[in-house]
Symmetry: C2
Subunit: 368 residues, 2 copies
């Protein structure tokens, strides 16, 4: 993190050494999904090296009337690795909405801090010359467009736009429901080769203050820095990670089985873990659908979505995505309570266990 | 057809008795596909009964600078029968493009005269209070968005828009190729339930004069009236149809076999016909892909796309679509030469035999 910038009154300028820890922290908050932030980090680094400046600002830095645009990549995470972005997909999607609404952006905000979309707005902000708000709409990663606190608390469904690497822009306006937007944008993204940049309807800063999760960019940065510092100083990475993330250690053990299949565009399956000696023969099971959804220990639900379930390598603290988890890995399973805005009755309808096909699990009975 | 309207200087007002023959003529020009015009006809009739007026005008009626919008339904023809339209899909798609470009429509034109899209602009014109140009961009039916003379001769790929029955509108702008527009619009249409209204980029009347096929609304009307008149007066329907359409009788016989499967959203297959006695044991084969594509007689190519191949019931002149053709039908196969604008080298690339998977068939060697 940079020192306070004297030319400005709030937040901090992103500097090159911030990018690696930020990407790592975003990957941790991806709870197994959200896509790999590495390529986005390289793009952001390139832009900073060319002289671009990006300031991360707290919610207090803007007036209620300022317009904020939420953006991020849409598509299968695995495609994001193989299909190199042109780099201005999100920017062009945003410009399309700006032109349509006449509402000029004062700042950008991440749709989801977890995974690649945690860093995507940094690169877009560098291109647009705009600041990025220190916050997001998930506090983690979720697989679908409508699963944001923005939507839960009243963001308009339209206009929204997706843009691809060939210059194509598709605008959705009007759209009757956010689920429809998800279906339409997903179908367009598939035609665009499986990955695209997306921007949703502008939100006033007054709304953002009520509907967004504050401080999550800083949080990701702190988590990433804690892990990197611990590795450098040969401290216990897991301890430092738990401290920095204010997380709970739920289980440690060896992966003994993984089932995983592609179903409706999602990676769906489960991970079986045999506990380390101190767990006295206990086993853990993790249900996955792009992200880690439910953790059972000895058959009993221990943690469930929207609370965060993260799998990391026991020794290095490296986050393990649902695509890469495999037999024999020595892992720690850690948990973090989701932000309060994700746990209201209206939020749980959109991103609680039932929304992911577990209507029998009562979130409130298992919340961290 | 109505008498000349003294309040205006060109074309004719569509009256209720025009609608049935127009729909029938459009179905004939559908060459086996293009969707059933019946529901569109009912919508147009309802609008006329409510007092709407629609004038069909010749190309001479507008100045070069006037803006013309081409529109029609997009989707699987069979869905068009089961999924009742809200009725203003094309209008809302057009309004989206008008708002975006600031180019106010002076008239509408059909993307394709064959099938349901021959009558769709009549209903939209009734809602919009606009005239319809006597012409279209195919002179028949084709399965894909890019297969119009508009596109072949330079219509912009964007902006274009599709709208559904629930109020959703999706705009494509910019789009790099017309094939991309086809792919994106098709994917969106599937998410919209399989059928939607579509409007493409505005064209100047000067461009329309060079790129559109003139007189095809009048042609469809004449064909439909000839068939209905012949039925009413017990004249030979086939004779009257051939005369009105300036068409060639190619074969008559009984359908002895139909193979048909859904492949990539299209009805693909072939029809086998055993010739009537005067054909001395000859057989005909027709290749279909939504529309009738190629006619072989005794194994030799007789007619191929873009020339028109129509199957009609021998006695009634009723057009037989590729979905409804079946064993035992007594049919006549008639052919019409495509308009010259469909037979240039650049047009044949888009809608000649090779574009439909018959690179070995040389159109010029078989043209009617």
């Amino acid at each position: 993190m940079s020192k306070p910038d004297l030319r400005s009154d709030a937040g901090f300028l992103v500097e090159e050494p911030d990018l690696l820890p930020l990407a790592l922290g975003c990957a941790i908050l991806g709870t197994g999904g959200g896509g790999n932030p590495y390529l986005g980090m390289l793009r952001a680094r390139e832009l900073l090296r060319q002289g671009a400046q990006v300031r991360v600002i707290p919610f207090e830095a803007l007036d209620d009337e300022a317009w904020v645009y939420a953006l991020g990549g849409i598509g299968a995470p695995v495609v994001g690795v193989e299909k190199i972005k042109r780099g201005d997909e999100c920017l062009r999607a945003m410009r399309a909405i700006e032109a349509r609404t006449g509402k000029t952006a004062s700042a950008l905000i991440s749709e989801e801090i977890g995974g690649s979309n945690g860093i995507e707005p940094i690169a877009t902000a560098a291109q647009a010359g705009l600041p990025v708000l220190d916050g997001d709409g998930m506090g983690r990663a979720f697989p679908e467009v409508q699963m944001t606190t923005f939507f839960v608390y009243g963001q308009e469904c339209s206009p929204a736009a997706v843009a691809d690497d060939k210059g194509n822009v598709v605008t959705f306006d009007p759209v009757d429901t956010m689920h429809r937007l998800e279906a339409l944008a997903r179908a367009v993204t598939v035609q665009m080769g499986g990955g695209a940049g997306m921007c949703t309807a502008p939100m006033s800063m007054g709304f953002i203050r009520r509907a967004a999760l504050p401080g999550t960019v800083t949080q990701a940065l702190s988590i990433g820095r804690a892990i990197l510092d611990a590795r450098r100083t040969h401290a216990d990475v897991l301890d430092r990670l738990l401290l920095a993330a204010d997380a709970t250690l739920l289980f440690t053990g060896k992966v003994t089985g993984v089932t995983r299949e592609l179903k409706g565009g999602f990676s769906v399956g489960s991970v079986q873990v045999q506990g380390d000696a101190e767990y006295n023969g206990s086993t853990a099971d993790v249900a996955i659908q792009n992200e880690n959804l439910v953790l059972w220990i000895d058959g009993a639900v221990r943690v469930c979505v929207p609370d965060l379930i993260m799998l990391v390598e026991r020794e290095t603290g490296e986050p393990i995505t649902t695509e890469l988890v495999k037999y024999g890995l020595s892992i720690a399973i850690i948990g973090m309570p989701a932000h309060a805005l994700l746990k209201t009755p209206e939020a749980l309808k959109i991103m609680g266990p039932a929304a992911f096909g577990y209507p029998g699990i009562d979130f409130d009975a298992h919340r961290l």
